[in-house]
């Protein structure tokens, strides 16, 4: 299993920079997720690793070999395509065996590998069928089995779950994660679904407009996004962002929301926010890090009015009017909050982030 090093990759399509000076190192055996909205360049980057796109500048290094000039077949990779790309004119067995036949391996070796891959993906009973005779979900398994059978250093996956229905997607997510950790290959996985990214990746690279905005472990990105875009992209519901003014009080700094009161700023953030005293910043906090207090609380709360209550079973999702803005708050179902109620909101201090209102980047990152 190999490390993948991408150095200053550039790819330009007509006038657009699909991949704009991207450098990334994927560690040996790591499961790296490239996450972002459509058009952000994640698929182009993946295809550049595969050799299916010629890059305009930069290098791709797999293991200790510079493969930048090599065609796909020499790069020792295996890939799962979004549309599966299962060959319709070959049986399932032949599909899985295809790459191994290209390598001219011994027949018995091929047979062993095909059958064990098929077993891993639970399709060993389909080997004699043809792709047109199996379901979409099974075709996806064939595509994965075909890649797994290659036992290659690098495994590339381009949105392999996006064509499955919701229930199947959930099942396959867990299955894939288990399977891939068993195999242990270096995996690069492209998706636009942040749930997939969070649940499967060792690290996530969030991309936008051809650049990597943030690289890190899922929880880090979730709790400390580097800017407003990342904070809003990850997590469901997206992170709340509220404009606040930083004021100095006797005992420290506070963040004031117009018409809703003010809350104390976590002392750990005081130093960062010094330059912003008297000015406006953006406060970011997730719905689940806001507590609803009915009793008026200890005073360090903001006043809001509940507009909509969505009972989701495991929690209630509230839409609240906080000053001039609307935010999402999640509460335990047994609080039985009702629409129209006035509530006090307490914000968890160490889960609050602060963004510069102009650059929309998190202060101090």
């Amino acid at each position: 299993m190999s490390e993948i090093r991408l150095e200053r990759i550039h790819k330009i399509f007509k006038e657009t920079r699909a991949v704009d000076d991207v450098s990334l190192t994927i560690k040996q055996g790591e499961f790296m997720v490239l996450l972002g909205p459509s058009g952000c360049g994640k698929t182009t980057l993946l295809r550049s690793i595969a050799g299916l796109e010629d890059i305009d500048a930069g290098s791709v290094i797999i293991g200790d070999r510079d493969v930048t000039e090599m065609p796909p077949r020499n790069r020792k990779i295996a890939m799962v395509f979004q549309s599966y790309a299962v060959f319709p004119h070959m049986s399932v067995y032949e599909n899985i065996a295809f790459g191994l036949r290209m390598q001219k391996l011994d027949k018995s070796v091929i047979d062993t590998r095909v059958r064990s891959s098929a077993e891993l993906l639970h399709i060993e009973n389909l080997l004699d069928r043809y792709p047109s005779q199996v379901s979409g979900g099974q075709r996806q398994r064939i595509a994965v089995a075909r890649a797994v059978a290659m036992e290659s250093e690098v495994l590339l996956m381009d949105e392999p779950l996006s064509n499955l229905d919701a229930l199947l997607r959930l099942e396959m997510r867990a299955e894939l994660k288990r399977l891939l950790s068993e195999i242990g290959s270096t995996t690069v996985y492209v998706t636009h679904d942040q749930v997939e990214a969070m649940s499967m990746g060792d690290r996530i690279a969030v991309m936008r407009a051809g650049k990597i905005l943030q690289l890190g472990e899922p929880l880090d990105i979730y709790q400390t996004p580097v800017d407003r875009f990342v904070g809003g992209f990850i997590g469901n519901p997206p992170m709340n962002f509220v404009a606040v003014t930083v004021d100095r009080r006797a005992d420290g700094l506070v963040a004031a929301v117009s018409g809703a009161g003010s809350v104390a700023v976590d002392p750990a953030a005081h130093e960062r926010l010094q330059p912003y005293v008297g000015k406006s910043v953006t406060l970011g906090i997730r719905a689940e890090n806001i507590e609803v207090r009915r009793d008026g609380g200890t005073g360090d709360t903001l006043q809001a009015r509940v507009l909509v209550v969505e009972p989701l079973g495991s929690h209630d999702l509230l839409t609240c009017q906080l000053g001039p803005e609307q935010i999402k708050v999640s509460t335990r179902p047994d609080m039985a909050v009702r629409s129209g109620e006035d509530v006090a909101l307490a914000l968890e201090p160490d889960r609050t982030i602060w963004l510069d209102p102009e650059s929309e980047r998190t202060i101090g990152m």
């Binding site: 550039h10 704009d20 000076d21 305009d56 500048a57």
Partner: protein, 293 residues
């Protein structure tokens, strides 16, 4: 080093593969379309001794058969096209209705595509000849006492009539297939909506289907008109020497009279008429982008 510098000095290679794959076809088309086009032009403006002049064209125009051939051809085109369009549309609508056995209907309606114009001409000779099928059936059913001489050289318009019928039989399939493809790209919902709002079949055809079929109609008409101007074997088979058409004249001058220059002049005339017809169709049936699906 900025990104721009990297790219400029980088490796933007152009893939030559597609051009290599295309090359043979371009070479071939050059020799077999471009070159003949050009030499046809040259031929028409020369005389047999090689001098540049308008004599060959003059010979063509001055020939007694000129007016007859041109008017006959144009008459045929003007009569056949509207009838064929209606027939093709009817067939296309039937096919699009997806009745039971659609593949059978489509196969039968498309049969004439496989039939050469010469065979088609002879087929209708067997029908229209004096002791042919039409007269046989008419007499057997008692509709006529004696058969009509359909192929009479005396009656110009009867000859035109039977050629029109034969051409309709032979050449409508091409239009039909283009229209079927066009119809299938019109979502059923548009036509259903019209039906819900009370349109009769005729109204649906006129106000919804035909306008949305415009691009297909354009193609079908242009192709068919150009082919109709070249009407050849059907006319010879059915009318013999009773009348003459332009392509027949072309052949006569080329092979019988052995004057390639006048033949080229005839060919050129047909090309010019085809171009006018194309422009005419594009002008009368413009396809506005914003009206597209």
């Amino acid at each position: 080093m900025t990104a721009d510098t990297i790219v400029l000095s980088g490796k933007r290679k152009r893939n030559w593969a597609p051009y290599i794959l295309l090359l043979p076809s371009l070479v071939f088309l050059f020799f077999f379309f471009a070159t003949p086009m050009f030499s046809s032009f040259v031929l028409a403006f020369q005389t047999p001794d090689g001098a540049w002049s308008l004599d060959s064209i003059g010979t063509m125009v001055g020939d007694p058969n000129f007016t007859r051939a041109v008017t006959t051809t144009l008459t045929l085109v003007l009569i056949v096209i509207p009838f064929q369009l209606a027939l093709a549309l009817a067939m296309a609508l039937v096919v699009n209705k997806r009745l039971k056995g659609t593949s059978l209907w489509l196969y039968v309606y498309a049969l004439p595509l496989a039939i050469s114009e010469l065979a088609a001409g002879i087929v209708w000779v067997s029908i229209f000849t004096q002791k042919g099928w039409l007269n046989s059936i008419l007499e057997t059913l008692g509709i006529l006492e004696r058969g009509v001489i359909w192929q009479s050289a005396e009656s110009y318009w009867t000859l035109i009539g039977i050629i029109v019928v034969a051409e309709m039989w032979r050449a409508t399939s091409i239009m039909m297939i283009i229209l079927v493809a066009g119809l299938q790209s019109i979502p059923d919902e548009y036509i259903e909506a019209a039906e819900v709002y009370g349109a009769t079949l005729w109204q649906r055809v006129r106000r919804v289907i035909l306008p949305m079929l415009r691009p297909s109609l354009q193609v079908a008409l242009i192709l068919r008109i150009i082919l109709a101007i070249q009407v050849f074997a059907t006319a010879i088979a059915l009318a013999g020497t009773g009348l003459t058409v332009m392509s027949q004249q072309t052949l006569e001058w080329a092979n019988d009279i052995d004057d390639d220059h006048v033949a080229a002049a005839w060919a050129g005339l047909m090309l010019i008429l085809s171009i006018f017809a194309t422009i005419g169709v594009l002008w009368l049936l413009p396809v506005k982008d914003e009206q597209q699906v």
